[in-house]
Symmetry: C2
Subunit: 244 residues, 2 copies
């Protein structure tokens, strides 16, 4: 399969068969993840594989009842990690400067790049994946469950498993508005969003036999009109990410 | 080529031939980027392609003299973008709540996932890439140059081009410390970092004919012992990312 075709075929899988994935395959997938670029070789990422059924049940619940966290062949929590960096500083004879906003940005980006590489690796083997942003519903509980030290933030979960469904891929915003030339010119964005609203309406209608007919901009209003996860700043402060 | 082999073969390319990349190929690469997962379908990413030679020269300079920003077949600035989301809220009849920490996390992760997919797409076509974190040296200047509105942050640059060098890939931290089981247990991390320090020493010695012999932990001390990019919080505040 052509790699670009593989990337274009991505859709989240939320129903998995109980076929297991062997540990060697998991290690290949995660190693491929860490082969991604990392800012100044910081490697600000730690992956925690959770096998324990009760822990997975708790995480599924914290994530808002996402039961596939329990049933996927493998489940991981991807963490933005500066704790190891702090340890490296100590070993290297330097002081670690905590709470720097830029370091949070580096670790978050590092972690996402590595995870996406792992996702591509998994999908290339015919496996399906689902990111679980819902673990940020209660990061303090996640921190307790996984015994995360300060300077480690649970960024998202990731289910990997053998797909037991074949959902349609979701259309994306047109490149006419997401890929710009030379500067940020948003003069065509309203038209582009209008077109995409229609595309998403058609997508939902088709998937639900006409029952759901919802525009993207309506979804965005519902999502962003409220302060999502208002605990986030306080939680990050308590973990030592102080945004100074 | 096996996809996992492709991912494992990644190394940053900092020297490009002047062979151009046609626009159709660029569009395929960026579309593959946007096919990555996105939190709640937010798609908090905008890519700005910069062709203008003078703008690229300015960006290369702002990034600390990274001349390959000028010479790569194509150069992009990847932005974490909530401006379009705000526009969608307006169209959808809702209010956009600015400055929410969680929304910054969502847009940053979305942007990194999409960029990494684009990187894999480019590398699958035999192209080479280099992320340019150095654009965060002066995000305010970047913002002016690219006319970024509030709620848009230039997260990193990306060079894509035909490689004119074939560097070694850089070793990564051992999975024994970056992939953990069940919980964050760092009891083996000092040993793992020590091993990796030796690995990196050998890597530098080999690349420099013995001239450089530097441990990873030494690099991390130098990197993290100072407040990197201390302007970052103030800049993000001024762009409306207020971390509340």
């Amino acid at each position: 399969m052509d790699v670009i075709d593989l990337l274009m075929a991505h859709r989240s899988i939320r129903k998995f068969s109980d076929e297991p994935i062997d540990d060697g395959t998991i290690e290949r997938i995660i190693a491929a993840g860490f082969a991604a670029a990392t800012s100044s070789n910081l490697q600000g990422t730690t992956v925690i594989r959770v096998r324990d059924a009760e822990t997975r049940r708790r995480i599924a619940e914290l994530a808002g009842g996402q039961t596939y966290v329990e049933t996927a062949g493998a489940f991981f929590v991807w963490c933005a990690d500066l704790h190891r960096s702090a340890m490296a500083c100590e070993i290297g004879g330097g002081a670690f400067e905590p709470g720097v906003t830029e370091h949070f940005v580096i670790a978050t980006v590092d972690c996402a790049l590595a995870a996406q590489n792992a996702v591509v690796a998994a999908e290339s083997l015919g496996l399906g994946i689902c990111y679980i942003g819902g673990i940020r519903n209660d990061p303090a509980q996640m921190t307790e469950l996984l015994e995360l030290p300060e300077q480690v933030m649970p960024l998202f979960g990731l289910c990997i498993g053998h797909p037991a469904q074949d959902p349609q891929r979701k259309p994306r915003l047109p490149l006419t508005i997401t890929l710009k030339e030379e500067r940020y010119d948003d003069s065509g964005d309203r038209v582009g969003i209008g077109e995409y609203d229609e595309t998403m309406r058609a997508y939902y209608r088709e998937r639900t036999g006409g029952k759901v007919d919802r525009a993207w901009s309506t979804d965005m209003s519902a999502l962003l009109g409220k302060e999502s996860r208002p605990h986030m700043r306080g939680y990050l402060d308590s973990q030592g990410f102080r945004f100074r």
